[in-house]
Assembly symmetry: C5
């Protein structure tokens, strides 16, 4: 789960609105894909020159421009000039350390959130910043690296399946958000499986590695929470219809999306509760095992110390030790020792140590 | 208490409103039961064809259709077409992983919540999703599997006992909710008994299994909480009369239901507090027992180590050890040893270790 | 502190408003006492027939009817019929597991809360449900068992002392609430004393029983909290004058009562904080004592193990051990051993273990 | 820090408004001091008869009457009669267990709060209840015992320094509150020093007494919090101008006072965080020391147990033990033992135990 | 991180508005720098006489006066006289223990916050109080000591780069706040690095010093939180446009600043969560190591105690011990001992202790 905090310091001192890419460079060259459609028409284009999307600016059709890779700041500069986006919006798109938020600039709405994917090789969650600008008849989406999150939406637009071609840009923006939130559930499934595995392990055989796993899960929960909690407010304010760009019919879908977000948060909180419960149990079981170990030691010591002492007594070299001369001294001492052993055993039984 | 999270991933990528059943298939074939009544008339029917309920659609009588089993999505499709339910409502009914919520669609209100039952064989709580659609003169209820929760209501309608036949569909919906919440109290009673048992165990003889029981109870509390907390808001918004489908006279009953929900939540929080108190006490008693064990070990070692040392001294084979030659050397050494033993005992008494 | 949760299950399945007594039967036969008064007149009556109070219904004087014992549900049925109380109110009075609440039914206000008394024999807090119905010129109060909480009020009415005879039924209801809340302070005093005792014990000599006392106090705090927290809202909404039955002049007294409630809550929270502090200290002192015990063990073992080893060496039976033949071998080995002992002591001093 | 809770029980059963002094008697005889002033005039008087202040009642000058000692309830009775204060106000003044609060009675405002002083002899915080009644042209202040908190204000009035003589009674009330809150900072400084001392101790040498100090500080924090948190609301509602007795120009000073109150609360919360951090560290360091002790024990036991065993072997008296006869048996066994010792040392080094 | 609380006591008893410097004296002589500009003109001046800035008072250009060093209270007195600032504002500037706050006095807005810098030599965070007074055409900024935080802004004004020369004094105030908040991110980066280092250490080799580091980080978090949390409200109320001195176009920048503040808070909370997670893991690993140590001890003791006992038996000097005479007694006892050793090993393996 990457770095705790990104190198924001390289921007310190620059005036606000300066376009500097903060974050890793995750793709070699930026890729731009343009999809323009309405209920009857459909056009798709892949390019590297942002200028190609400017011709769609004044057409009434819905234009969706997806930009992958953020390190070439010129692309954003040109885009900002052409569409009149506020410099602070462009700055926020480039700064890949944003907290999910939604800003209404009147003509357009800027939404930023995090897309999460589970990397099965590295066994960790990967997080990407996704920015969306929604206007009257356009949607711009910005990704740090290529992912397949948006593929089903592209397919639905191509085939004209569902409502997507009939309703405007606001529904497209909703569909993008929805596909990102849907991915969260896959992450939650993965984490849920890991937590269940952990619980089983706890019962069968806890090891010091269990502790590390608990810590890792806890940390992932912290990051997940941070990515999802603010989203609730973002979707909530979209749903409450604070922007005139969102039609009433889309609002019902946003309410559904809001419910999903709440459900994700609910699951995260449940997971947190469970992990902290697991940690408690782990700690207690460590104490219990210490107790068990100490009991073994105490039993052994309590039995053999007196016996060894007795053997020591009759190992002394005093000249006058009458017992040593006795005919049955040796068997008798064995009987005494066995008696002590049996007594100890009974005593431990009574104390429920055995 | 089932899985942490259900396989929602199989829906990922589908457009919103796609009808896919998420959850286990708990019955073989869906069962549909229709009850149609007003103050004077009463009609009851069991069928497997959802079409049979469509004839009641425009009749002024109240029609309650109960559908058990959700895996045949065609039933919902047909129902949605006939009554004009929003696709998102149908989707939510099929997705058995919902958080309790209430959605007002103007013509009808959609309510989803969880019904809880205590399975005495498995000694665990079983949870079912119940969806209710309340319209002007109809109520649809959807269950995952058959249960006897609604039986008393059916009986009351049949016999015409109580207010139920005199008031409209909103009172029926209230009665359904009320019977579900009433069941929560039975669950709470069961859990209360288990907590009291646990407390007694803690006093008499705590074992490592106690820990597992605490963990299980804690986990059940987490799930219970998750099922009940959101219900408060659901019933609250029904009571505040945000929907025109709820009559004023029913509102007083909803206030009562709201109180019950609060009481359930109150009990859950009390239980949580008690369980966390029990865990604290358990951990402390483990520490206390460790202390007790260590004291025994220390007492034994502190008495016998010096004595064994002394015996070792007089077991040495030095040629010139005058004590060994003494006539009363051996009895004298015994006296010394007994003296050390008594001194140690007094010392431990003073330190309050014995 | 009685049961965690009362047997509500016997009501499950019954229609709302069914009159079933939930709780223990604390008195043999219900007792009804009627006091009717205004500034000039005063009349007092003790009966077992609820009908006797109906004659006061339309008189302008204030009538206070106190009913002790709830298991005869007919009494409530008749009362409900005569005064037109809502069935849910009657149900709530009988269900002695209520959360404190206040419900305004227009003509009358229903208040339910818990009265607490300290049972000095059993050394535990006893809790009773008290229901109060306040109307224009009447107050009904319902108790589970006889108590002396209301006696001073009766006395004040009889002697005409204070404002109580001059102001209406609302002031009487306030006086009843005030006397119940006053009792809470006595409970708090008792608990405060026990906490102070516990703290002293902690300093002088903590025992495993201390742990049980902490747990018991914690549990009593949970129950107390549950009884008092909701009361704040009850008194608060009475004071804010949401009901027209409360006159402005009484409101100033309700504000005072509200302050007392807050103070009770404040004290409960302080006690909770203190008890959790005491638990922390107890746990730490257990650890500290374990440390002390282990140090003794380690000191003993570290001194005597090397010495016993040395003694063991010269107890070996090798044929050629030159030291054994030395004239001063034995005194010399004693010197070595004493030297080791002194060195160890110095070493432990330096490590601050002694 | 005195008692947890004061003997309120002696008032239980009395009608509200009964004048009973609850708390300790801290002075022998009550002292009354009267200061009457406006911009040009100034008059000061010390008396024991409350009647002397009544002559100032109708004069337009500001009259400040300070009453020290509350056990003579007649003083308050007479005062209440003359100025028409509500009996509940007089009751609250006498009950020295009040939570800070502000009550607006229209003609006058009643404010109650706690003054804190650090007693350097007893090394504890002493707490006094201060009541203030602010009217159009008078301020009454009630103290449990004499203190020097108000001396600088008296001096400022006498010399006419600052704004105090120019503005009305509301500014005087503000000045009194301000001087009390200023004292809180001195308490905080003291506590801050003790916390810093505690932290140093923790690093150099923690002892079991450290635990007691932490507990004491924690308890003082609880009491401090309880005295200061409600004050925030008191000053806040004064500042928001809810009473017409407060002039706009005074409000700016009350805002400043509000900031100070927030700052005190802020500091208290910081201290609480720090103390709980210190407790964590203390507990961990106890565990760490236990670990260190156990390592020493284990090292000693692990080295000497095998060696003692070996010595024991060659102390056996078997007739046929060839090693015993060897010429170099004894030196050889020494070599073996030294070898085992060195091996153990290396092993422990590798495990980083040494 | 300096003192917990500053010596405020030296002001106690003085009337409000008294100008006393509370805090350390961090510079020798105060330095005053004046920058006066509008879109076309620019003038810069460094002086020690505050009077030099008074000539700019009535000019329409924006005047930024930066004052470093606060111990010469005459400067503030003169400034207050000339510009008519409220004495409480001047008092707050001098009291360097302020909580961040914003106060609107109509003609001017007073903002106080903390600037944080990481001192690489001392490896600690240094904190300075910065006060800003924003008027129609002037900004006063007050620093405790010289820093380079404002240098880039000075440079931007000099070169006329960015919007800064075109917009009024409100944008300048925003720019100052922005540069301070930007610095917080550098602090967060530093802390983030230290937390990551700590985590690695935890995995590789935790030492008792780790505990001290955790405690230090925790403490720094407490201080950071205290400096940043209130800032949120400050910027929030500036952004909500509660003062008429802030133009609408600046508000969009303040919204951005607000987002940054939230992000800083978000990071601090994440860090806190992580540090508390690290502490949990540290404590658990201490317990785990104790377990490991105890197991070694128990294994050694459990193997060698019975063996030493056996050796002791045959070291006894009884006259009649038949085994001692046996030809193969000695080899046989060795076999028995090796057998016991092997059995113990197998037993421990089965218990998973090895």
């Amino acid at each position: 789960m990457a770095k705790l905090i990104k190198k924001r310091s390289k921007k310190s001192g620059l005036p606000p609105g300066s376009l500097v890419h903060i974050g890793e460079r995750k793709v070699e060259t930026p890729k731009i894909s343009i999809i323009d459609y309405n209920e009857t028409q459909f056009q798709e284009k892949a390019t590297q020159a942002i200028e190609e999307c400017f011709i769609f600016k004044d057409k009434p059709t819905v234009t969706w421009t997806n930009i992958v890779g953020l390190h070439q700041t010129e692309i954003l500069e040109k885009l900002g000039d052409c569409y009149g986006f506020h410099p602070l919006v462009l700055e926020d798109i480039l700064n890949t350390d944003q907290r999910p938020k939604m800003e209404d600039y009147g003509d357009y709405v800027y939404i930023v959130l995090r897309s999460l994917e589970y990397n099965h090789q590295k066994e960790e969650i990967e997080s990407d910043q996704i920015s969306i600008i929604l206007g009257q008849n356009f949607v711009f989406s910005f990704q740090e690296k290529e992912g397949d999150t948006f593929d089903p939406i592209r397919e639905r637009i191509r085939t004209g399946k569902g409502r997507i071609r009939k309703i405007g840009a606001d529904y497209l923006a909703y569909a993008l958000l929805d596909s990102i939130v849907d991915n969260y559930f896959i992450i939650l499934e993965k984490l849920g499986e890991r937590i269940e595995l952990l619980e089983e392990q706890l019962v069968t055989r806890p090891t010091p590695e269990t502790l590390q796993t608990i810590h890792d899960l806890k940390k992932e929960m912290i990051f997940l929470r941070r990515a999802v909690w603010p989203l609730r407010e973002v979707v909530g304010s979209l749903e409450r219809g604070e922007s005139s760009l969102i039609q009433a019919s889309t609002r019902i879908y946003l309410r559904d999306l809001y419910d999903h977000t709440i459900q994700v948060i609910d699951n995260i909180e449940t997971f947190r509760d469970m992990i902290s419960g697991i940690l408690d149990i782990y700690l207690s079981s460590v104490s219990n095992r210490l107790n068990a170990v100490m009991k073994v030691l105490t039993i052994i010591a309590t039995i053999f110390m007196p016996l060894t002492f007795l053997a020591g007594i009759y190992g002394m070299n005093f000249k006058y030790m009458p017992e040593l001369e006795w005919r049955w001294g040796y068997p008798f001492i064995w009987l005494v020792m066995i008696g002590i052993g049996i007594f100890m055993r009974v005593y431990f039984k009574k104390r429920k140590w055995l």
